[in-house]
């Protein structure tokens, strides 16, 4: 049950409220998807094969950490998983059934990239409101609180620092639930307390059956996730430079 500080707030004391906010999520909003997987994935960018024969599977409540050198295709793979970039080969699947409806697939994931999609002219709340309205969510005060932006709710987003902007982008994860989170370097520009909040948010998400795929150089944000090293899927020879 999401914590919505509304009219009920006056009736309960603040300790209860904090427990409601940060306590274990209740059964009602658990995600049902059992597995998100991909097989035989290959991606070609500008005529160059970035990776090929890539397999992965994330079970319900699972996490996958993407590792690899710069340019090994972490972001490309995340965009491919999101359905933004078409795969040169292979397919994605939910519970073993291949993804066919792109819109339905898109609706079951949240993608956080280095582009934050924040409008500087809108306030922090207005920025989140837009996505909440589009996605049918509405836990904005909770999301802002969770990422330490509560006191900035009415500020224009242009006044935010780089770290605060990134936290606002991350807050989109919390305004409306979706089973799969795709996070591209989510720790960039974050301070220690925000990193802790993000780690906590990821743990909560997994506890209710959500899946997380995170590309990261530094902190992994997950305690027990599998690791996928993109270096092992790099094309083996330069013959792939062909323009076919």
């Amino acid at each position: 049950m999401p914590c919505t500080p509304g009219k009920n707030l006056k009736e309960i004391n603040s300790t209860t409220w904090i427990l409601l906010c940060y306590g274990p999520p209740m059964v009602g909003e658990n995600f049902t998807a059992q597995e998100f997987s991909g097989s035989g994935l290959a991606c070609r960018r500008g005529g160059r094969l970035v990776f090929e024969g890539l397999q992965f599977a994330v079970p319900r409540g699972g996490a996958l950490v993407l590792r690899g050198a710069n340019g090994s295709g972490k972001t490309t793979l995340l965009r491919l998983m999101a359905g933004l970039t078409p795969a040169a080969a292979g397919q994605l699947a939910w519970n073993g059934a291949p993804v066919e409806d792109a819109e339905q697939h898109a609706a079951s994931l949240r993608f956080i990239s280095h582009l934050d999609a924040i409008k500087p002219a809108l306030t922090v709340t207005e920025n989140l409101n837009f996505w909440a309205a589009l996605w049918g969510g509405g836990q904005i005060p909770h999301a802002l609180q969770m990422l330490g932006l509560g006191h900035l709710a009415a500020y224009p987003a242009r006044l935010l620092s780089a770290g605060q902007r990134h936290r606002l982008a991350l807050a989109r994860l919390l305004v409306a639930p979706a089973p799969l989170w795709l996070l591209d370097e989510p720790g960039n520009a974050l301070d220690d307390s925000s990193l802790a909040a993000l780690t906590q948010a990821i743990a909560d998400h997994r506890a209710r059956g959500g899946m997380v795929i995170v590309a990261s150089h530094g902190a992994a944000f997950v305690s027990d996730g599998n690791t996928l090293d993109l270096g092992t899927f790099a094309p083996t020879n330069t013959a792939h430079w062909s323009d076919t």
Binding site: L84, E103, S108, S113, A117, A121, E126, F130, L134
Partner: protein, 221 residues
Amino acid sequence: MSVFTTVLARDLRLAIRQSADSLTVVAFFAIATVLFPFGVGPEANILARIAGGVLWVTALLAALLSLDRLFAVDFEDGTLDQLVLSGVSLPMVVLAKVSAHWLTTGVPLIVISPVLALTLHLPMEGYLPLLLALLVGTPTVSLIGAVGAALVLGTRRGGVLLSFLVLPLYIPILIFGTAAVEAATTGMGFTPMLSVLGGLMILALTLSAWATAAAIRQAVE
């Protein structure tokens, strides 16, 4: 709220907060039009003869000024990625954005056009067809422009490319828009021209959103 109203409300709010963008378009329209009496000379009957055409050409160029930002900002800051990933109907998002564009640039152009027509000595009977033709024609300008704006996303000097793509497609609007004004000033009926403009608008309305959505999907790859 539906997808359409959500996106429309956001774009209108952004346009109001950043009203300089809309004002630039109106200012360009005004200045470009006012240059003509200086260039052509102050003779009233020559100006009256060209008034309809001048207003339409400058209105099209002014609209073109604002078009290259229609999707470019959302493309650069990642909003388009998120919109594509929202699982909502992309053509509906496009229609909302085009509506917002028309309301914030097309409508101000229509509102200011009678004042500019005054400087060009447009005969009295030309005002009503001018306003009606702009009212029916400018939505088509936004709709066709959206396809071009989405196609040039991610290219260098997209604005110049956009004018090559889009201006030729504006020729039918220009012909019938100008003809409506001319017909009225020469004492003929102008409703046939308005009907053609209306037909063009319906055609653009049915095709543009899907074409634009397809171009956006290409761009975010």
